[in-house]
C-alpha cells in the first residue's frame, strides 16, 4: 500500500473539524474501552499479560529456530512454506501460486500483510479477481478500494447510513435501514463468490511451531469459509507471528479477544493444520504459507525488538487520545495509533513518516493496556531520537532546542532570560489574566488563550525573600 503518512498533520487537522467523524469516533471509543474494561475482569489479567510478554520474548530470542520448526511441521502435514523478503515478493509468490493452479478468483479474509504488500492490485493485474469477504474489508473494496482506518474494525469511520447508501448504489437493491438487513445483503452478494472461488487467502493471528498450524480469530465466520471451501489456501503472515506451542496459543488467546473487543473468546476461532487428509470432509487440496519479512528481521536484536511482540489487538489505538480524536486515516498506511506510529516509520522508512513518532502526548495509556506490555511511548521517543540523529528534524526546531538547552545549562543567563520572558509575557497580557495572541507560539493561541504569568520569577522572589530575612 502506498505510504501517505507525511500528510498526517493536515489530515489530522481536517479530521478534528469533521463533525460526523468525531461523533463516530466517540461512540466507537465507548464501545471498545468499556468492552475491554469489562472483558478483562474475569481473569488475572496482569499475570496473563506478563505470561504473554514472556512467550513473545522467548520466540523472538530464537526466531530463526522457531520458524524452522514451523516450516518442518507444516511441511510434514502437506503444506508448502514460502518466504518473502518484501511486499513485492509476496505479490510475486501469490500470483505464481494462482497461475500454477489456474485460479480466476480469490476470496480473502482479513490480512494486513496483504495490505502491506498491495496484493489486491497485483492479483487484478495478473487477471485474478480478489474478493474481500470480511464485511468491513468488503465495504472498503466496493467503495473504490478505500483504505481502512482501524486494524480490527476497518470501517470504524463509517456510519450505518453511509454504508446503506453505498450498498444501494453498488448492489442496485432498495436501501436498507437495519444493520442486520445490510449484513444479510452482503452475505447474499458474497455467497456466489464463496462457491466459485478457486483460492482462499487469509492472514494469520498466530503460527504454531510445534504443529505447523495457523490460528485464525474472526467474528464473522468468513475466515472459515475462505480457508476450507476453495481448492487452494494461502495464509500470509509476518515472520514474527510464530509461537512455540498450543499451550502458548491458549495463553495468548486469553489476551487477544479480551484486549480487542472485550470478548472472552471471539465468535470463531480456527486452528488449521495441513491439507485435506484422506477421509476428511473439508479443507484445501493445496496449502501454502507465505512468511514475510518486510522489515521485521531488521528489528530482531535491536532497540525496537519489543515491537515485534505485537499481537495486533488494537487496544493501543482504542485507548489513544490522539487516535480517538483523528481516527486512522491520517496515519497514512496499514497500521494506526501508537503501534502504527512505531511500525510505519520502521517498515516504510523514518523519512516517510516524520510526524508519526511526534503525534503522541506520551500519556502512556497505550503502554498500560498493551496485552504484551510493549513500551510504546519509549519506542516513540527512540524514533524521535533517530530522527534527530539523522538530521531529519526542521532546522528551526533544532536551533530553538539547542539555544534553549545551551541557556538552561547556564543558570545566571537562564535566570535573566526567564526574568525578561516573564515580564514580556506579562506585558503582552495588557493587564488581563490571559494572552490572546502570541506571535512566538501562534499554534498555541490559535485555539487557546495563554494564562498570563505573575510577572516575576520564583527565583527572583525567593532570592528577595532570603535577602530580606537575613
Amino acid at each position: 500500500m502506498e505510504v501517505r503518512s507525511m500528510h498526517f498533520k493536515a489530515r489530522a487537522g481536517a479530521a478534528v473539524r469533521d463533525a460526523r467523524l468525531q461523533a463516530k469516533l466517540a461512540s466507537a471509543k465507548g464501545l471498545f474501552v468499556e468492552g475491554r474494561r469489562r472483558g478483562i475482569q474475569d481473569i488475572d489479567f496482569e499475570a496473563t499479560r506478563r505470561a504473554g510478554e514472556a512467550i513473545r520474548n522467548r520466540v523472538l530470542q530464537d526466531l530463526d529456530l522457531w520458524l524452522e520448526r514451523f516450516e518442518q511441521e507444516a511441511t510434514k502435514r502437506g503444506a508448502t512454506v514460502l518466504w518473502a523478503r518484501d511486499g513485492a515478493e509476496v505479490c510475486r509468490l501469490v500470483v505464481d501460486i494462482a497461475r500454477r493452479h489456474g485460479v480466476k478468483k480469490a476470496i480473502k479474509s482479513k490480512s494486513m500483510l496483504s495490505e502491506e504488500a498491495g496484493l489486491n492490485q497485483a492479483l487484478e493485474a495478473a487477471g485474478v479477481q480478489p474478493v474481500e469477504t470480511d464485511l468491513g474489508e468488503y465495504i472498503l473494496q466496493i467503495n473504490g478500494n478505500e483504505p481502512p482506518s482501524h486494524i480490527i474494525a476497518p470501517v470504524i469511520h463509517k456510519t450505518k447510513e453511509e454504508v446503506a447508501e453505498l450498498f444501494e448504489r453498488v448492489h442496485h437493491r432498495p436501501r436498507k435501514r437495519e444493520i442486520s438487513e445490510m449484513t444479510r445483503e452482503a452475505r447474499e452478494m458474497l455467497r456466489s463468490h464463496f462457491l466459485t472461488a478457486d483460492m482462499g487467502i487469509s492472514g494469520a493471528n498466530f503460527l504454531v511451531a510445534e504443529t505447523g498450524s495457523v490460528a485464525l480469530v474472526t467474528n464473522e465466520g468468513n475466515g472459515r469459509m475462505v480457508t476450507t471451501l476453495p481448492r487452494v489456501h494461502v495464509a500470509i503472515a509476518g515472520i514474527e507471528k510464530v509461537i512455540p506451542t498450543l499451550e502458548d496459543l491458549a495463553t495468548l488467546m486469553r489476551l487477544l479477544p479480551r484486549s480487542a473487543t472485550g470478548q472472552a473468546i471471539s465468535n470463531y476461532f480456527s486452528l488449521l493444520t495441513g491439507t485435506r487428509a484422506a477421509g476428511e470432509g473439508d479443507g484445501p487440496e493445496h496449502m501454502y504459507y507465505v512468511l514475510v519479512d518486510n522489515g521485521r528481521a531488521n528489528l530482531v536484536g535491536g532497540e525496537f525488538q519489543d515491537m515485534l511482540r505485537c499481537i495486533r489487538c488494537g487496544a493501543c489505538m482504542n485507548h489513544c487520545p490522539v487516535y480517538q480524536t483523528v481516527g486512522g486515516h491520517p496515519y497514512g498506511w496499514v497500521y494506526f495509533g501508537p503501534m502504527g506510529s512505531v511500525l510505519t516509520p520502521l517498515y516504510a522508512g523514518l523519512e516517510n513518516a516524520l510526524d508519526l513518532p511526534h503525534a503522541a502526548t506520551l500519556c502512556n495509556q497505550c503502554g498500560v493496556v498493551c496485552p504484551v506490555r510493549i513500551p510504546l511511548p519509549e519506542l516513540l521517543r527512540k524514533l524521535r531520537e533517530k530522527q534527530v540523529e539523522r538530521g531529519l528534524r526542521p532546522w528551526q526546531e533544532r536551533l530553538a532546542l539547542k539555544l534553549w538547552a545551551w541557556t538552561a545549562q547556564r543558570p545566571a543567563l537562564y535566570a535573566l532570560a526567564a526574568r525578561l520572558g516573564a515580564r514580556y509575557l506579562k506585558w503582552l497580557a495588557h493587564g488581563q489574566d490571559r494572552i490572546r495572541v502570541l506571535g512566538l507560539a501562534p499554534a498555541w493561541t490559535a485555539s487557546r488563550d495563554l494564562p498570563a504569568p505573575e510577572g516575576k520569577t520564583f527565583r527572583e522572589l525567593y532570592g528577595a525573600r532570603q535577602d530580606g530575612g537575613r
Binding site: V16, R381, A405, D449, F458
Partner: protein
C-alpha cells in the same frame, strides 16, 4: 529530613506562587527545605524531542545540584517522573552516573505523594471552600502512581467537596511540544477534558502539573468559561497565604 525543592522551569516562569505553596507545605510537614538557585529545567523537553545529549547535560546538572539532599520533591508529576523513571534510563550502563541517577531517582517524589507517604503531613493548612474536581495528569498517574494521594489530602479540608469528573485519567492533550506541533488536535483534546470538568459543576479543577493547567485554563477561557478556576493542588492545600 533535608528536602530539595525542584521548583520546575514552568513554575519559575509562570506561577511562582505554586513554588511557595509547595515550600510552605514541606515546611509545615517538618522538612528542612533547600532550594538550589542554580536549578533550571529537568531536561524533559529535550528528552521528549529526541535530543538525548541535551537531556543528559541537564540531567547531570540536576544530579549535581541535588546530590546532598535526602529527598527531591517537585510540584509536578511530569518533572518528578522524568527524574525518577527516565534519568535511570538516560544513564543506563553508564557506571557511576547510572548509580547516581538511580539513587536520586529513588529519592525523588511528586509533592502530594511525598506529603502523604513520606512526610506524613498531618494538618492541611489551606482554607479553600467549594466544590473541586481532580484531573489526574498522565505522568504522575501512570509513571508514579499518584492517584489517591491528592484526594486523601483534599479530604482533610473541611470546606472542600470533591466531585469526580468522568474520565479523569484521560490525557488533557498538552503533551509538551505536542501542544504546538499539533495545535488543533491538542486543543480538541482539551475541549473534551473541559466538557468533563464543566459537567461536574465544580468551582475549580485541581491538578498537579502546571503544563496541563495552562493548557486547560487556556482552553476554558477561550471557550468563554471565565468562571471555572484552574488551581494547582499545592495552592489549594497551602491556602492563599502560600
Amino acid at each position: 529530613m533535608r528536602v530539595g525543592l525542584f521548583v520546575t522551569c514552568l513554575v519559575d516562569l509562570m506561577r511562582p506562587r505554586i513554588g511557595f505553596a509547595a515550600l510552605r507545605l514541606l515546611e509545615q510537614a517538618g522538612c528542612e527545605v533547600v532550594v538550589p538557585l542554580s536549578q533550571t529545567c529537568c531536561g524533559q523537553p529535550a528528552y521528549n524531542s529526541g535530543d538525548r545529549s541535551a537531556a543528559r547535560a541537564l540531567a547531570e546538572k540536576v544530579l549535581r545540584e541535588f546530590e546532598g539532599v535526602d529527598y527531591l520533591v517537585a510540584p509536578s508529576g511530569s518533572c518528578a517522573g522524568m527524574i525518577r523513571t527516565h534519568y535511570p534510563a538516560l544513564f543506563a550502563g553508564d557506571g557511576e552516573l547510572a548509580a547516581r541517577a538511580a539513587s536520586l531517582g529513588a529519592r525523588t517524589y511528586e509533592l502530594t505523594d511525598f506529603l502523604v507517604n513520606v512526610a506524613h503531613l498531618e494538618h492541611v493548612p489551606g482554607d479553600f471552600r467549594g466544590t473541586v474536581t481532580y484531573h489526574d495528569s498522565c505522568s504522575g498517574l501512570r509513571e508514579l502512581g499518584v492517584k489517591d494521594q491528592p484526594r486523601q489530602l483534599l479530604a482533610r479540608m473541611p470546606g472542600v467537596r470533591l466531585e469526580e469528573m468522568p474520565a479523569a485519567e484521560e490525557c488533557c492533550g498538552f503533551g509538551g511540544t505536542f501542544a504546538v506541533k499539533f495545535g488543533d488536535v491538542s486543543a480538541r483534546l482539551a475541549e473534551k477534558k473541559c466538557a468533563h470538568i464543566q459537567a461536574t459543576g465544580a468551582d475549580a479543577v485541581v491538578l498537579g502539573d502546571l503544563g496541563c493547567m495552562l493548557h486547560i485554563e487556556g482552553r476554558l477561557r477561550r471557550m468563554g468559561d471565565d468562571k471555572t478556576r484552574v488551581l494547582h493542588i499545592a495552592e489549594v492545600l497551602a491556602g492563599e497565604a502560600g
